[in-house]
Amino acid sequence: MSDVVERTLTALPSLLSSDPSPGRPSSTSKLGTLIRGITELTSKHDEEKLIQRELVSIKEQVSSPNTTMRQMKELMVRAVYCEMLGYEASFSYIHAIKLAQQGTALDKRVGYLAVSLFLNESHELLLLLVNTVLKDLQSTNLIEVCMALTVVGQVFPKDMIPAILPMVEEKLNHPKEIIRRKAVLALYKFYLIAPNQVQHIHSKFRKALCDKDPGVMSASLHIYLEMVTEKPESYKDLVVSFVTILKQVVGGKLPIDFNYHSVPAPWLQIQLLRILSLLGKNDRSTSEMMYEVLDESLRRAEMNHNITYGLKALTYVVQQDANLALQHQMTIIECLDHADLIIKRETLELLFRITNGQNVKVIVEKLLEFLRHSKDDYVTIDLGGKVTELAEKYAPDNSWFIRTMNTVFLLVGDQMQPDIPNSFLRLLSEGFESAEEDQQLRLLAVDSYVSLLQEQPARLPQRFLQVISWVLGEYSSVKEGLEPATVLRLLAPLLDLRHCSSETKSWVLAAMTKLSAGPACLSVAQELAERHGGSLDTTLRQRLHELQHLASDGELLRRVLPCSDGLEPLEVDSTLSFLDGFVSEALAAGAAPYKPPHQRQEELAQEKALSVEPYGLSLPLSLSSSSIAGRLSPTVLSMSSGLSGNSTELSPKGGSALRLEGVTRVWGKEGYLAKAALKPEEAAKTEVPCPLSVLQEGGSAPRTPVVSLPAPAPGPSLQAEREKQQLASCLFMGLGSQGAAGPCLMGKAEPTRHGFRKKVKGQGSSSGARGPSGDSASSSPSPLSAQSAMDNLLCSSPLDSGSTPSPADSAPSPADSAPSPADSATSPADPAPHLPHDLPANNRPCDAQEDLTEDTDTSETVVEGNSVAVVDPYDPEPLCLSPHLPEELCGLPRSEIRPLCRDASLVLSACCVRTDHSSLLVVFVSNASDSAARRFALQMTSGDLEVSRVRGGPEEEEEHVEGHSVAVYQYSLVPTRPSVHMELAGRASYQRPDGEPQSTPFSYGLSLPDFIRPLSVSTEEYGRLWLASSNDIKQNLALLSQEPDPLRATLHRLRDRLQLNVVDIIASEGIVACQLLQGPPCLMHCRLNAGCLAVWLRSSLPELPDCLLYHCQRALAQH
């Protein structure tokens, strides 16, 4: 088949003679000449020149009245070609519509084609097509009806659907299948762009589904796929229909010409399977209706043997039946050594699925090998997770497991998903059924880590160092003859590593603290304290201090860090009942009862909501402290309102009982339970495959006749072949005999072998005594042993953020300084260091930069190529103008450059620039024509503004604007009176080269913020100004309540948007000042009140507060 095109391309001789249409030889050759011309070109520049020439010639011809429709068709094809190469041919759009309207037969079809290629749904010219479509739909010529329906199915203005909908619906009953089919596809388009418009014709969709013609029926499936995706439950009654259709298709009931290489309508099968998979998802009874036909489809779908693309299908199928992989083992082996990385990775994915206890070693070795050479972060992380999963599930022995995990830690490094080290540590600490095995595993881990540290610790990734530290801290005692001091000396150098993060250092120190018994250790500890005692990292210093302290006091060390073997789960009293005594004492002494933060917040809001008048509460207080009656200084107010800030005292709620519900539910042994407990379940969920999707994908492989796999032919590479077969027998071991050691496919339970993960998961049920929250805690992935859990409970240091392990408390005894309930509730937060959750972002390259440069390119060509259209007057900001901004104004805040007006030769644009003491309107006059605009003048007037020309002589001075140049005019604007919006009307007049006077009006809108400047005053000055101003206005404004500090965020938003100066923020109040350009100040006092910002504005100018308030509201409403 690969010579198909070759044949047609080389079969030139009969080209002209057999061409049916008489006018086409020339047209073919014209497009042909263009294509050949372009093929021969070598540089992009030449191509551009050629295309521009071509476009000029097309443009000339399309507008000529003598052009026939046939020629027009040929021109449109060329225009399409030019546009396809990236050169806009917008002048031809209207002609394409004309061709569709006036042409006949193929010419008309090409007209429609060009329209569908040129215009997108929202293009306004498309409206001009509606009448043509209407006419053609009513045509007696079926071909024209067909064309109209085709274009409607491709591109049609959404708003015009009602105009043609009845006619399209009517076509559903047409005797010709092709018309019915096209009508269904047109309705499908309507459903895609405006589903509401076709809501009422659902019954007609059903009729189409039952159409006797398979083409019409399959067209209706597109609509059903969309609808089922959206709302599967509404279409369950159709399952039987879909199943019946599929059965008929698979059974070969369709006409023979629907077959593709003797497979009955494969694409139709795919479509049906997609719909069924959606309908059967999470619905057992519905799914059961499908099983038979799915089985049939799968049975008939033979594997595609082309190794280059059959793998994915195999991967999916294998999830259903691992034996299928057996038939293709040699193919898979070939793929493993394939040069194409994509194939290689797919192969590994497949191997991952067929892994079992017998082949795990070989498969993991293959995965690791790939991992070693992987440069793609995403692949590395993904494979790291896979290897870990396999190792935990199928590890044949302990030392293999430790070795494999070491490799994973080394290769994947710090990009590793955080749950890998977590679950690994949990595995070590929680152990399995046999204590002996556990000890052996730990011993192996300790052994391998000690030797790793002796070699080159500097090369180890952070995550791995953390794991090593923890394991050594907990279990180095398992190894007989390994002195704690030796371990300490191994760990100590890690603190000197430059790349060692503060977090890792904490792990290291935590481990050292656990081991620091005996005089030898004390000396190491003291050495360390001397060396790092001056560190700027406070956490580190605290840990050092703890280490030193505990190393010198063995008795205390044993109490704080009891040396247990960590096997029995720690009993945590998550109700914190041991603090009851402390709490009741504190309450008796007058302390406020604890309230969870959300409750506190609620009460605060409620309490505040009661006061209607914003200043009601503080008014009497400030009256007493201020001698000026009636005129209140906000600065005084802020001080007085601070006095009444303690809401908890005034709270009507909250008895003497300690509120525990909120605490126990959220916090537990592992920290934040709600999140932690969910994790493993989620993980388990993702492992369960959806059998339907499996089937769907598997069955979707277009079938080809059964071809048995070529048997490996004995030849010169016999040796290599034998090796491969050997590898195959290793890889596919255990796949054939499903019973005893069947492959553990995703989601299927492994009956015989108990992998690591399995045992750990089962542990929750076998563990004994636990606190109320114990069961949820058991499944959360914490590497915490009994010891370190205790540490965390002991730790009351405010420095401890909970993100680093806390091995010991600096306080000598827990009894001496009982932590307050609130503190201890937060400090046992996740004892595992928070491993960053950020996965690498999509490797989608950022092409914003590219786009930008491209844009500038096009704008430049627009300027140069003046034969084509010039700047679009409604371009948001003609990029080419900003360089013309006067030098002294560059860098100053300004509005975007907006077009003012344009005529044949001039384009006027303007922007407003704010300097400290003025607002300038900068007008750019660009003359794109070849001749100068003589005696150019600008006149501007405004009722709200005083306008004066800044540069040059007196106003209305006559000037010339040369061709292809940009002249810049500056006007200073001063508001005569404040107003929300200000309008500037103007007129540009000049003389055309032929002496004809030309005049164009324009207008430019400005708003108050263009004339607002920050006013910098001190708090005292502000107070004086406040008293001096009248014209009060009070209002509540929306608060940016999502921000952590709503008041500050809100005021800063106002500052940034409106150029206000935030003078001061005191507690829940803020004062803000600004000034009208060359006018009086306006002061604003803001106060948090019941979730709103209560503002009080004052100014000597009556209108100013009002206008400013309007803009404040707008600034806060925009997000």
């Binding site: 198909v4 391309l9 080209l15 093929t39 795919i270 280059t308």
Partner: protein, 143 residues
């Protein structure tokens, strides 16, 4: 769904392009060059599916012509791979009868493609049905 269909020659020049998701005119050339770079230089024995940004490419090579199809993550590569072949079979059927260089009849190739793919979905694969409208137009021109 299908995002676009490209036909490019060996030099990487676009011979035909059809987009089913809006892509700005100015960005098409760069996208096409990028896509072509991703497919043309692959060896024959390498996989016909390429991951590209957030979507996938499926390509086939016929003599001096490459057909590259951009598809979304959820689309079935194999189905598209076969669809390309089906398309070429249809072209072969039509143009072996009319006999003229395919690319010089870009309009007709487009018309054929329009019958097969609409809005990025496969709407017809039956050869005779795909060619029916075009054949009707040809007969019309004859008479």
């Amino acid at each position: 769904m299908i995002k676009f269909v490209l036909m490019v020659n060996r030099q990487g020049q676009t011979r035909l392009s059809r987009y089913y998701q809006p892509v700005e005119l100015g960005k098409r050339a760069a996208l096409e060059a990028d896509v072509v770079r991703g497919c043309l230089y692959r060896k024959k024995e390498e996989c016909s599916f390429v991951e590209y940004k957030d979507f996938k490419l499926v390509y086939r090579h016929y003599a001096s012509l490459y057909i590259v199809v951009g598809i979304t993550e959820s689309e079935n590569e194999l189905s598209v791979y076969e669809l390309v072949h089906n398309f070429v079979e249809v072209l072969d059927k039509y143009f072996s009868r009319v006999v003229s260089p395919i690319m010089f009849n870009m309009d007709k190739v487009h018309i054929i493609l329009d019958e097969m793919i609409q809005n990025g979905h496969v709407v017809e694969t039956n050869h005779s049905r795909i060619l029916a409208p075009l054949s009707a137009l040809d007969t019309l021109a004859h008479s």
